[in-house]
Every structure is written in C-alpha cells, then in structure tokens.
Symmetry: D2
Subunit: 325 residues, 4 copies
C-alpha cells in the first residue's frame, strides 16, 4: 500500500516536498496539504485535500505520515502531535527553536519507545556527501583529520544577523560533520568578520579531528556548498553538481544556483525516498533522528551563547539514550 | 492506481529495469518478470510473479505495461504482441534487428491508430543531455553547427566486430543526435581504424549540421561518453557525472565507470519515470517512438551496408507518418 | 657572446618577438628592427637600431640572426637572403605562400649544406603539447590512434574565407600533428559548413592514424585550441592554460583569451629560447625545419586545391632529403 | 652588460638557481658557485668558477650580485657581507633564523641607505598568485575578507616537527598573505592536530581580514598548494598548474608534483628574472624586501613562542622604516 503523506506548510520548502511526493516518491503519495493560506495550500496540493488546521491533518485517517515545513516556531509542537498519534514525521530542520524544546521531543519519543521522528538535514542524502562518506568508511584516505566546509549563500535580508547564520545555516555543517565523521563535537570557536558575515567556525571532535567552516550568507555570486575531508593518506572533495560546461562570452563556465533547493534537489528527493522506505520497512534509515536534531540545536544554541560572551563554546557530549544507539 | 509493469528478460539490463521499478518508479510497480532462466527471473523479481513465457506475461491481467529487455532478436515480435494487446511497451534498443522488422512495428502501431511503443534510447533522459538540449532550444549558443560525440567503452570480446559498433553502440548517437538537433541525417561516412575499432563516423543533417563521432569499444581506461554541441555563438559540453574528486597517490582524480549502467543510472530511472508518467497522463513523452526506433535501425543498417561496400551511406529522409508528427 | 637578433616586421607578431628578445631571451638581444613604417619599427625596437630596408638588416654586421614577421608574401625571399648571408633565421609561418617557393628555400638550404631555417610553428613549444608528446613517447597511452583537434578563433573579417582557414590556421595542426605523431599525412578530407566556416578536416597518416580537426574562425566566444590524443590504452588532453578560477556573477569561470598571442605566450618565449640555444650550441632543435615548413605549405596547398574540386586530397609523402633526416 | 651572478650553496635549491641563471635569465649569467663540497659546486657551475669560500665569492670582481641558497644558519651573515660590499643579494628564505638577526640585516641596509636585499619568497612571482593579486587590485571581487590557504607536502622526516612547519613552510603564507592583501597581521592562532601535523593557523590582519591556513607536511599524496581569496562580491582560486589531463586506468587525472621545485618552477624563473631586471633598472621590484623578510621571521618566531605557551600570538605591527615605504 502506498504511504499517504500529509505536508504541513506550503511555502517554498513545503511546496517542494509536496511536489516530490506527487511526482517522485515511489511507495508514497501526497494525501493532504495544510497551510494557513488556503490558496497556497491548494497550489501545493495539486488536487488533494487541503486544510488550514495542522492538527486535523496530523490526526486524519487520510494521513499515514507527516512532513513538517511550517515556520520553525511550530516544529516541536507539531512533531509532538505526530508522536502522540504514533505517526512517522519528517520535520524540516531545526527540530525546535530551543534545545530544551528539542529535548522535549526526544523525551516524548523515548516515552513512546519508538523512533518516529526524522529531521530534514538533507546533506546526508546528497550524492556527493554520501559518496564522500562511503569512501571514507572504506578507508580510502585513512583516518580523517580535518573537514573543511564552505557554506555560501548569495544574499540575505539585513535582519538575517550573525546568530541566524549559526542557527539557520551552520546547523547543516553541525549535522553533516557529526554524521560524516561519526564523531561528537567538543568545542567550537567562532570568528566573526565585518558586521557578522562571514563567520569562520572551528569545531573540534572527541577524536581530535577539526571541522573548519566558512559560513558566508552574502557571498554575492551564488549558492555554493563545498566540503573537503582531509585524511592521513589523501583528501576527498565534493564536486558541485553541474550538467554542462558553457563556452560562451569569453569564458568556460558552469553555473551556481541561486539557493539550496536546486543545489540539493536530488538530496531532497533521496531524503523523502529513504524516509518512505524506512517507514515501509520499519528499519531505521540514514536520516537525522530526533536525537541528532536535538544535539544540533543544542550545539547551535551553545555556539550562539558563546559568541554573545566572546568565548569558545565548550560542548559536552551526552550519553546517547538507548533508543538512538 | 499504480501501473503494473512486467519485465521480459532478467539479464543485466532487465534486472536493472526491474530494480528501478521496484525501488524508484513512482506511480508504477513491478508485477512480473519473464526469463527462460527461472532462477534469474526470481532474483530480478524480488518476490513478484515470474514466468518463462513472454506472451503469457504480455497477455496477463497482472500486466498493464511491458518492459522488454530480452535478446535483440525477440524485440520486434514481443513489441508486436504488446501492440496486439493494446499495452504500452518500453523496448530496449534496438526496436528490431532489421529495418524491415522495425518498419513492421511502425505499421502495426499505425494500424492500431495509437502510440504504444517507446524505445529505450535513454540518453534523451540523461540530465546532461537534457540540459544541453534545453539550453540549445533556448538559443544559448545560436544555431547548432557541429555535434562532437565520443563513445568509449573499456573492452569488448573479440567477436564484437566493426558492424556491431554501429548497430549496438553508435545507434545511441544516431538517436541522440536526431533528438538533440531536431534534424534528420542525410549521409554518413565511416572511417575504420586498425581491425575496425575505433570508428570515426561523420553524419550530415538535412540542415547542414555535422555530427562527428568517435566510437571506441576497446579504449582501455573506462566507460566514457561525451558530447559537445558547437553553435554560432558558443558551445555546450556534457560533464561526466562525478561526485567527488580524490587527491590520492600523486593525482587529483575522478573515476570512470566500467560500463553504461552506472554512467546512465539516472537516465534509466528518469526514462522509466517519464514513461510511466506519459502512460498515466496519456500524453506523448520525450522518449524515442517506434518511428524513431525504426529510423535509427534503418540508418544503422544503411551505414553497415555502406561500410561493407566502402562507400558513404546516403540516407534519404522519409515523410513522417501522421501518427508520429 | 649574446646573439644579436634583428626582427623584420613590427606588426603584432613582430612586436611580440621583439619584446621577447628584449625582455625574455637569455643569450640573445634585440639588435635591430625593420619595418616600412618607421614609427612602428621604433616602438618595437625599444631604443635599438631601426631600418626600413630588410636586406640591410639581414646583411648588417649588427645582425647575427634574423626573425621574420613581415607579410607572408615576403617570407621566402627574405629567408633566401638570410641563407645567402649564412645567417640563422626564424621565419613566422608560413615559410612561403606557395609550395614551389617553399621548395626553393629547401633547395637553397640543401645547396648551402647547412640548416639555417626554422619556421615559427610554435605549438611544438607549447608546454601542454610538449608534455603530451613526452608522455606519448614514453608509451603512456600505447600506440596513438586518433588525434582530435579543435582550433577556434572568436571572429575574423569577412574577407577571411575558407581557403585561408586552411593556409592560415589549419597549418598549425598540419605541423603539430606531423611532429606529435612522427607520421606523414597521406590524405585529407575537408567538410565545409555554412559559408565555409567551420571546417571539419580529417587526415590520415602513413601509419593509419587519423587526425580530426575542427577549424572555426568565428566561434564567437574566445580563442580556444584543444587537442586530445587517443591511444590504445588511454588518452591525453591538453589543458587550456589558466591561472585562476573566478567565482563571480553566478558562475564558476575561467577566461579564454581573444587571440593566439596570450594563449601561446609561453610557447613563443620557449620557441625563441630554444632557437637561440640551438644556434649557440649548433645543435638542431625541436623547431620546424625548412623541410617541415615546405611540407606544411604543400599539404595546405593540396588541401585547398582538393576543396576547390570537391575531392579528397591525396598526399604523397616525399623522401626526406639527407639534410633533414 | 650582463649581470654576473654568484650562487652560494649548491644543494637542491642552489643548483636550481644556478641552472636558471645559466639557462633562463636574460640579462644575467652565472659567474661563480660556492659550496663546501667542491664536486657539488662544480656540478652546479656548469663550467664557471667555483670556490669553497663564500666571502671570496661575495667580494670577487667576478660577482656583480649574489644568490644565497646556503644553510639557513648562514643567511644573515652572508647577506650582511653582501651589503658591506654594496652588492645586490637574493637570499633564499628565511632571511635569518631569528628575528633579532633579521632585524640586524634591516639595520645594516638602512645604514647603507640603499636597498640591496631581496628575500626568496617566490610565491609573489607564481603566475597564479600574481594573477589573483592583479584581479583583486582591479576590484574584481570587492574588498577581501578571507584568504584560505592549503599548504601540503607529501612527507617529511620525523625530526621535522611542529615548529618547523611554521618556520619552514608557513612562512610562505605569512609573506604571501601580507603581499597579496597589502595588510599587516595582528594575531595568530594555531591549532595542532595529532603529533603536530597538520596545523590549522588563523591570522587576523589590521583590516580585519582573516587568513586561514592548513599546513600539512605529511599529506601523503603530493605537493599541493592552493589559495582562495574571498571578497565581498566573489572569490578567486588558484589553479594548480597542469599541462594535460590523462584518461588512464579508470580515472581522469592530473598529477601533483613531489615537491615545491616543479610546482614553483615558473615562480623561481620569474623571481630571478625580476630580480635581475630590478637591479639593472635600479627600480624596486615586487620581491620581498629585507623588511618583509624580517617581519616574516618575526611573526613566525612569535607564533612558535605562542604555540609553546598554548596561547594566541599577538602581533604588533611596527612602523615601516622610510627605506621600505
């Protein structure tokens, strides 16, 4: 039976998830869309049921599983409602706007004794990141030493300030680094340039690896994400996905997209595909768990607090609850 | 309702089609597999119905649509059986082993007054080829002038001789060139090196464009397909899909796959996806029609005949039957 | 003692040679410049002797060796004057405007029993071409089979017609292919698109190798020269020399130059350097000899004649005179 | 008149300088070589005068200018001897093994009221670095914000410990960053991995730019130097100089050299060329002055001291003496 998936939130990301569910997710179909703006919900729904009531969508018999792409502030409570209903949920990052709230989700899941939550850190499903992990796990470059990340976005509004670069953008590197290295972060140092953009953030792991990241929200030229993993014997660099080289106007050139959606289109598709498959097979997937989502939010919070105090963040790894081992 | 697809042939390609139908084709599912070798059929089937009788599979109520990946010699008759049943069929290339047989399929389809046949020229669905076509159609490089193709395969058995390089490999460039340029081929010149490998084949189109192709079946180093489209204002080159760059052992390097399946994995997936969507929507897709399949086989036949005679092939474009316009 | 070099012709190429001799040629210095336009000569001379009389420059005691960059029509007679004076001469390509004239130069050199002439086919000194040859000679790719060349120029005046693409541009590929492969050309086939631009030219060698070249004088986007040598075990591709990648304005991009001078700057420098070293050491260099210059002009002439007649050019290799073996 | 240059030290670097002076430096010639090992001196000399007495070489009438490539410990005293003789000197980096000694050289030059010293920080002459600087100076990327450097070496002996990565390798980034940005460093933070290799070093400039460098002396795969300059509007990345791409053995690949000499061959040639031209023209060149050499050594010393104390280095810019403004 095809999995009936309801999407909450019909903004840019929610519409993209709805589209993927309608067009590109074997074993599942879009069964409903919820948005406060009914017209927007209808557009994303492509004919299926729409509602303005998120809890109605979560509780409905028409919904086997839920994708949450509503405003960040609503994430934790909507996820909790899904857990209450015993329904699998894929929640766009972040899991919650505070570590305490995220922790509440973890506790609820532990209480339910069942993993129902996946957090939408889609880099884990990006083909380049996945191949980098595969080769590293095979030992191609020996033990990892340094992970260099570049996370550039062409432009953000002026209200998008330094802390948001951490809580909104850098969270991807927090999750991807933990996943890629299989290590926990133990410290973070932030160097802020100009009016808070770009940031240079250096984290250390419990194995002594270093994760060095440039986060630049107004880089001007395009959306550009890059990673290089340096090991004892060699390095692996992600290739920016491009289809053609243009020889035009004096240049040999390849385009950068404007934002993360085209850059990570295949990652979003693979993420939903794997999520659906893990639900149907009742096997845990590669996706970020509620625990991962909690830790990422907690680390981001601690980094922002340390930035405010002008000190390094000390990150104390916590024991992993049995449910997530 | 999900489309029930039966696959005939459980060799390398048939198994790959079956796997994609099982795992990666929204709106469709694998409903049966036919192979003379039952064990092989079972392995590809992953639990669904298997049979050794292709006609049984085609006629069965369990089959809404058919994928043919059986030996080339069987293609035409199996496709005819599908047309007789009024069932959509995706036939691996070539449509038939002779132009006359392929023409027979076209006639049957015309008689049925309905397009049911797609031929598996998957390059049309390769993301790089599709992007090249999109940019060309937008006018990015002005009018096309030359299409340079490279089609290299690491190694073939000794019985794989010159004519097979045309009928088995170069057919992809025949179809891709017609599709990409939207032109018909009017002549072909073949230059054969050594014992018949590599070949350099030059075709001219009815618009005066030139398609220049190196077909090298024993290139030694990997499976490598490349195209550059030269227009009046610039050129477009396909990028070999790669995920990571390795800095290892004295080199900065990217891998070539061993064969076409990993190289065109995304094309095969997109091909089935579009085929299913076109069946469900009853709209014609981008895929190669029976007419395309017939013309490609005919052109290949004429090139092989001309090679045998040591002359250029004169290719006389035919009027396109109404059904295919 | 530093070699005193006089340059005849102070146009674009002559000025560049004069500049290299003034600034970048160890063991030699610019001693004089000749041009009908005295002001232009003075500009190129940077303070050294100028004259409007080419024969005066050739005969002068101030001249140990001569670089000819005057109009093509004057090449042969100026080279003959140098031979008469027993002075080494580096003549810009072509050696002569007709094969007969070029042959006359060869005869004069044979009569003088001494090799004094080098023709300015500078690709032999391009670092990428030289490296390709070195690797091929080492056997890295096994026996060569196909050489693919691309020779693109952004735009030429309307009077620059089809035959000039051969006599002015394609001559570089004639010489580079003979040098790189160490083979003689035995046939050439020209396919002309549109109003004679681009051309696709296919030559075969006495070893059965094929040289396939696109010559496109109005490609629009930049000056772009590329070669790929296909051997039995692998291929070698020249890399367009670039220093930086720019991430700007939505693209990752590298520039193409406007013309051959920046593209082959290092080749021109290396050519003069090797020429000076070979004169000083009295050892033959890697440069094109009068014989090479004659053969290239002869092949180009035969190709142009065949184009006019709409037939393939049959190129009959000649026995190499003893002086050039 | 050609400049007579004597080379002190006939090890790997000295021999390379001697070779370049013999073969590739217009306006100069190798006039003498000094080494304690006479046989080694003779080999580098290629026929010119050899001596085992460095002061004899410096004082000799046969020497117009001096290149010092002797052991680091001798640099300062030999440079002082050149200043005493009023002879221009190009000293391999470092200028001295301690900041105090280097400062002594600066004082001597100031006393002589004449700039005679250039320090061999050859990156300034690397074509890719020079082009990056040219584009940055033109404003192509707006104001610089971050300079990312990678400095990797395949393997070093075990005695090559952490501090040497700074004093021997990272000094190149200190000089190149000051030159490229035109800024002074005000702080440095070192993060040491494993047994002291790799290092991640972050410096800040007096303009608030950040220079982030990975120094990895045992990276395993090859000698690899890379820089990316991030500005407000875009970034510039150096391209590793390569001549050909090899399609071989399953890969598309380009080689890394074993060490800095092939990587920076053109930089060494350009450095000597510019040094000779600046001596002959009596105009200051782009090369690192004694002041630059002093500052680099001083910064390296302060970084090493800070490493030992486990603190960040505070770097206090000094007023530039009039001679160096």
């Amino acid at each position: 039976m095809s999995l009936a998936v309801g999407v909450i939130g019909a903004g840019v990301m929610g519409s993209e998830h709805a589209r993927i569910l309608r067009e590109a997710t074997p074993g599942a179909h879009l069964s409903g869309v919820c948005d406060a703006d009914v017209a927007r919900a209808r557009q994303a729904a492509g004919g299926v049921w729409v509602t303005t009531d998120a809890l109605e969508l979560i509780r409905s018999d028409r919904t086997d599983a839920v994708v949450i792409a509503a405003p960040d502030i609503t994430h934790a409570s909507l996820v909790l409602a899904c857990i209450e209903q015993g329904k699998p949920v894929l929640c766009e990052k972040p899991l919650a706007t505070t570590a305490a709230e995220a922790r509440g989700v973890v506790e609820a899941e532990i209480k339910a004794s069942r993993r129902l939550v996946q957090v939408g850190y889609m880099r884990r499903f990006d083909p380049a990141y996945a191949e980098m992990k595969r080769l590293k796990d095979e030992g191609a470059i020996g033990s990892p030493l340094i992970l260099h990340n570049v996370h550039r976005n062409p432009v953000v509004p002026t209200w998008f300030a330094g802390p948001m670069s951490v809580t909104n953008a850098f969270v991807h590197e927090i999750d991807a680094s933990r996943w890629l290295l299989g290590s926990e972060m133990v410290s973070a140092h932030v160097r802020s340039l100009g009016a808070g953009d770009p940031l240079l953030i250096t984290m250390e792991t419990d194995r002594g690896e270093v994760v060095s990241t440039e986060v630049f929200m107004n880089c001007g030229y395009g959306y550009h994400v890059h990673a290089e993993l340096v090991g004892q014997k060699g390095t692996l660099q992600t290739i920016t996905p491009r289809l053609v080289t243009e020889n035009l106007s004096g240049f040999s050139r390849g385009t950068y997209p404007d934002n993360w959606i085209p850059r990570f289109r295949n990652a979003y598709i693979a993420q939903l595909d794997q999520w659906v498959k893990s639900i149907r097979s009742q096997l845990p997937g590669e996706g970020a768990s509620a625990w991962d989502g909690y830790l990422t939010t907690k680390i981001a919070d601690e980094i922002v607090a340390a930035m405010a105090n002008g000190v390094d963040a000390k990150l104390v790894p916590e024991a992993v609850p049995a449910l997530y081992r």
